[in-house]
Structures are given as C-alpha cells and as structure tokens.
Symmetry: C2
Subunit: 415 residues, 2 copies
C-alpha cells in the first residue's frame, strides 16, 4: 500500500505532464478509458459484489445498498459519462483577458488546470469515474479517497482507468486512489498541502463539516442544501403547488430538493390545503409549521427552530408564514445553507428584490429548485454544487476545475 | 470591548445593507471618508504617536518603526487612495454570462459581493484604510484584525471612517475592528465561519502559515514570494543584468522581489561577473550559489537546499546553474512559492515553454518580476497577491473581491 507521500509525489509528476496534453490527447484517453470500463465489466462487478456482500453483512440500509450496487447498465452509464466529457470543450489554455500597459508590457490571463485535486467521497462508486473524467479533462491529476463501503469497486474502476491511460501516451498517475480506508488516513489526506492544490469533499453534511474543520488544503464546500420556496402574495397557486411538489418529492435525497416553505400570510389559507390535497395523490409528506400553518392544516406538527435549519432529505417539509417579502428574505437568509431558493410571484418588483437580496448560489423565479445541477444548467457535467463564495458558486463544471495564470511579455522593462 | 460574536452579527446586518447600495452611494461614502481622514489628521497622528512610543520602548527595529509611522503626507496618501478607489468601476451587479435552456429557463450569472471579509494584518496602519476601501467598493462588510503594534493608529483610522460613513446613508458597521490584540482572539477570529465568508491574511510568511493551519474560514493565501529569474542561453546580457538588479534591489522587502537566479551553464561565466560588477555600483548583494557559481564568483558562498527555498527579503540572492530549460523549469517548480518568475531569452520557443510549464501566478518574459502588483497590472488597487489557485491568482483587485450568483427566471418549470 502506497503512502500519501508516494501518491502525492506521483500526482505532482503527473500534473506537469497533464498540463502539456493537447485536447485531442485528453479526449482520446477518455474514450479509451470508457471502452476499458466496459471491457473490464466482469472484474468491476466481481469487486462490487465483494462490497455488496460486506454491506449486507454490516446491515447496510437498502437505500445505501442500491447506491452502492453496480450492474452492466450502470457501468455502461459510467462509460457514457466519460464519452460525454470527452465531447465537452477543453477549458484549459483559453485567453480569458489580454491587455497592454503604457510601458509596453503585454498581459494575458490564461486558463490553466488547478493542478492536483483531492476528492473525498462516500459510497457511490460512479463518483470514481465521474470525478476522474472531469478533473482529467480540465488537465488535473486527481487523488481519490473513497469510503470503505465501496473500496473494492473504487479500486477496480481506478485500476481499469489507469490501465487504459497507460495504453495511450497519458501517465496512469493522472488518477490514483488511496487504498487505506482508515479515518486517520482521511485526516492526513486533508493536510497534504505539499501535494494537493484543492480538496473537494463530496458526500454527507458530516463529511463536508469534517473537511471544513480539519483541512489545511483549500477546499470547496459542496452540497448541503436547505432549499426554500417562498410563496408570495401574488403567486400563481397552480404553478406553486406543482413546483413545491416537484421540488420536494421528485427525488428526496438530493441537495436541491425543497426542504422549507415560506408563505405570505395572505395566501397561506388558500395555498396550504391545495398543496396538502395534491400531496396526498403523490406521497405523504409530514409538514412541520408555525402556529398559522398548524391552524390551517390540522395534520401539521409544530416546527422547532432546528426544523427551519434542517436539510431533511426525507418526506418532511418545514413551513413558516411571513407578513411580507422582507420577512421572507430575512428568514431565508438566516436559515438557508446558501444553495438554492425560489420565489413564486407575479410581481416583477418582488422577483427582483428577492433575486437581489437572497444570498444563495442559485435564486429562482417561478421554477423548481431541482434545476440546480450541472447538466440542467448546460455545463455537461458537474463535480458538485458549491455553497461557498470563494472560487466557484453553484454547479461546478469543467471551467470551475481550472485556475488561471498571467503571462506577461516585455522587452526589458524594469520598475 | 465587543465580542467577536457582536462584531460578526453587526457585520452580517451591514452586509445585507451594503449589497443594496448604488455605485453613487458607495463613491460618495468613500469621498466622505477620505475627507474625514484628513480632517481627523491630528487625532490619528496622536494615536500613532502612542504606537510609536510603545514601539520604541519595546525596541522595535528602525525599519518597522518607519512602516508604522504616520505623518500628514501619509494620511493624505491614504485619503487619496480612497478617492482613487471611488474612481474605479463598480465590480458588483455585472452580468457575467446569460443564456437560455431548451426548457425556457433564462439563466444569468451576476457578480455579487463576497459578503463579510475578515482581514488579518500586521503593523502597517495604511492597510486599515486601503482594505476597507477595496472591500467596501466591492460591496463587502469588513472586520479588521490588525497587529498590536499599530492598534491605536488602526482604531483611530477606523473610528474616523465609521464617523464619515454614519454621515452618509451607509452603516458605520461596514467597517469594524477587533480591539483585542491577544493571540487567542486571532485564533478565534479564524474560526468565525458563522459570520465571515472569506479571510485574507496580509503580512509575514508566519502569519499566512498560521492562517492556513488554523482557519476554518476559506482563506486566500497571499504574498510569500520566492521569485526566480532564469537567464536562458540566448538571453540579452544587458537586459538581464538590468532586470536582475531591478528585481533584487529596487525594493528588497517586497514579495515580488527576485530571490533566486537560475542560469544556463553556457552563459554563467559571461553573465555573473557582469552582474557582480554592476551590483557593486548599486548595493552589496551576497550571492549564494552552487559549485559552478562559486567557481565563477570567488566572493559567492555555497548555497544550501534551504537557500533555494528562502524568501530573503534582504540583499541576498541564491543562484543555481542548469544544463537546459527543462532543468530550469523543474528547479523553479520545485522551489518557488508560485508567485512570480521570469525568463530572459531571445528564443520564442523557450519563452513559450517557460510560460506554459511554470506553475506560478505570474510568468514574465524579458521583464522584471517587480511588476506583479495591482497598480502595475492596471487594476487600480489591490488587496494582496494570491499565491493559491482557488478563486484568485496573482494581484487581487476589486473584481477578485466579488463572487457571483445565478439568477434563474422561469414560468412554472418543473423537473
């Protein structure tokens, strides 16, 4: 088993090689890796079967087992993901800006890879291929640190990709995996500043918090979404019901699902029973509300302050009534995780006020928060949804996996 | 004395107000603050006299005392700095990108303030006014944490600016200062994630390292510069000597000064004596070199590996000879702090190779590294030079003090 130092040194060597690859070389390597994953299907499924067996023995929850499970179709989907990323434009080497100074210096701002990216993630093995492909297309070397639940699957996928890369003129060390799954190793990984330029944790709120607390490497916080929908006084009731139901129930375990409703008091009595009625046709959702909400919906339970700050990822929805849009904005800015929020309104003025004053990555007018996603935004793929303000905010695609450098051409200028 | 929590809550309240200010309101406030600093000159100088007295009593070094000292001219310069920043374009509210999706969703990517910025800095009191002005113009609230050496000066400057802001319709809490100077408070400050969006440490390598190690708030690493100049085989000898002398001696205490020379072995014997001769006319510079360098320059001393990694900020220069440009690039990428590096060459091919493969924020061809500076780049001001790859790299002006949000307009779209 290699030490983090060994992995780090190899990643740095790889990073310098990757920076010099052409777009064609990168795409060729991605297509080769895609083909390789399908060719290695049996090996990967055998490794996955080991993880599944261990999961069952450890009493893993059915939902988690499903996320862990691979089959031929899922491996095909992984391979297709790599092919799609090969089809996206190269984000590296673009001249982002160019200008000349009075002293004759010519400046160019050019997009470059971040360098070495560390990814810490939990049980979904498809992240292994996805994260590699996005980082690689953006010219980065990547070191993966997956969870113990999926270690055999992750290693098999990584081995397959490395073998494919070695067949092209790309170094296999473009992707490496930390084989140890112990927690101390994860803590050490977060302090590998000498080797890793940027750390991206992908997974539960607990994992993100551990990275914020412990990482000395610059990180990008991703994913925690306590997303709100505000039903304004002038909201269209039918659209509002459709959108809340979509944002809450279409997929409950995702970070852009709606977790909290904010309702103008003048429309609460009209809206809530309508919502409740339509919800009964879809799925039971427990509503936790303030006094006014509970008065209108007898089946609702009283919400605590903690409820308004909770990302349920479940069939539960918190709800609060407000006197006006200012109260709505203040409530959301106080409780949100700065991921995605929506306003339902016919008032242009209120829509503008809401989008201006809400301090979140994505602010919607009359649309579902479920659209916060790299594919839905048209980025073609994403490495995560950033909820911080430094570097990237919202869905992070290829462009967000790059940095830039200034190249300055002179002819002897001194200061 | 207010607690960090009190300061933090006020900063958050201020941040929401600042986000809604127009460019005119911000500029008016900056001009008013500039006038106020000049009007409060006597008070500020009295406070500064206290810091100077304490500095002398504590045996502060003459160079540091000079950096700490204020006089009328320096206060005028501070005020002029504020006026210049008022004259720069507003970086907030710009539509950075806009597109429509097939489902009719209209997306806009809009520049927004970062929110609350924490600045930790050392003894130069002018940072107080500069940092406020840049953060403020970009719509951010700022909490300052200066060093104990300048605490009276910093507080007097902050009081003056706050009083001016209160006279306009801008909240005085746009700028606040941590009055306590104890170290435990600095450590707590770096963990105020609930209140501070971004932390920017400005000062010594030790301060930056402490922030990297201890901050849980996203930080921007600034300033450490082990900058290299590579003298290629085809370099113009006269330009090379001029540029090395400029980059090494024009101002030794700055992060973009040259600290290390890398010399193609074929030109070392021609270049080094020429450099040594010209240096004697300017200032004695100790050269620490490898065997070849010491052979050519008998007055040179042997460099250790540590020398090649040291930012001297002094009249010392390390020097190493290399066989070719690949060795030069490898040496620089191994030892540099990724700030600024230059190549002296007449070869277009080598210039391109160097600028492509050197992994630093600013890469120069035939020009002095001393140009890495917000003013020299034409940004009109800077909050620091970023040596990290996340968010901003190189000189950070107003644009780098903003983030963005996505605003998505729909008409009932669900997923």
């Amino acid at each position: 088993m290699q030490s983090l130092e060994e992995l780090g040194k190899k990643a740095i060597a790889a990073k310098y090689k990757l920076q010099t690859l052409t777009e064609e070389e990168k795409n060729k390597a991605l297509l080769c890796a895609a083909k390789g994953l399908q060719a290695d299907c049996e090996k990967i499924l055998a490794a996955n079967a080991e993880d599944m067996r261990a999961g069952r023995e450890n009493g893993m929850h059915a939902g988690l087992l499903d996320r862990l499970k691979l089959d031929e179709a899922r491996i095909d989907a992984m391979a297709d993901g790599l092919r799609q990323i090969a089809g996206l434009p190269d984000p590296v080497g673009n001249i982002l800006d160019a200008w000349e100074r009075p002293n004759g210096l010519k400046l160019q701002k050019i997009s470059v890879p971040l360098g070495v990216i560390g990814i810490i993630y939990e049980s979904r093995p498809n992240v292994t291929a996805d994260a590699f492909a996005l980082c690689f297309k953006a010219g980065n070397a990547v070191i993966l640190k997956g969870g113990s639940d999926a270690i055999h699957s992750n290693m098999a996928i990584t081995d397959s990709i490395r073998a494919s890369l070695a067949k092209t003129n790309v170094t296999a060390d473009a992707v490496q995996i930390v084989e140890s799954t112990d927690r101390e190793m994860a803590a050490q990984f977060m302090r590998c500043n000498d080797y890793i330029d940027v750390l991206i944790p992908r997974g539960s709120a607990g994992l993100i918090r551990a990275a914020v607390e412990n990482s000395t490497i610059p990180i990008i916080e991703t994913g925690t979404g306590n997303c709100h929908i505000y039903i304004d006084e002038t909201a269209d009731m039918t659209d509002s019901v459709n959108i809340v139901i979509n944002a809450k129930t279409q997929r409950i375990g995702v970070c852009n699902a709606c977790e909290s409703l904010v309702i103008h008091e003048k429309v609460a009595a009209a809206f809530l029973p309508l919502l409740q009625k339509r919800l009964q046709e879809v799925h039971t959702v427990e509503i936790r509300g303030d006094e006014a909400v509970c008065h209108i919906l007898p089946e609702a339970v009283r919400a605590s302050e903690a409820d308004y700050r909770t990302e349920y990822l479940d069939y539960i929805l918190s709800a609060v009534t407000v006197k006006n849009i200012d109260e709505a904005i203040a409530h959301i800015n106080r409780c949100s995780t700065r991921h995605s929020e929506a306003i339902m309104t016919k008032s242009r003025e209120n829509a503008e006020k809401f989008t201006r004053e809400i301090d979140s990555a994505c602010v919607y007018v009359n649309a579902s928060t479920r659209f916060t996603d790299g594919y839905e935004f048209g980025f073609g793929g994403e490495i995560g949804i950033s909820t911080q303000k430094l570097h990237a905010r919202g869905p992070m695609g290829l462009k967000e996996l790059t940095s830039y450098k200034y190249v300055i051409a002179g002819n002897g200028q001194i200061r």
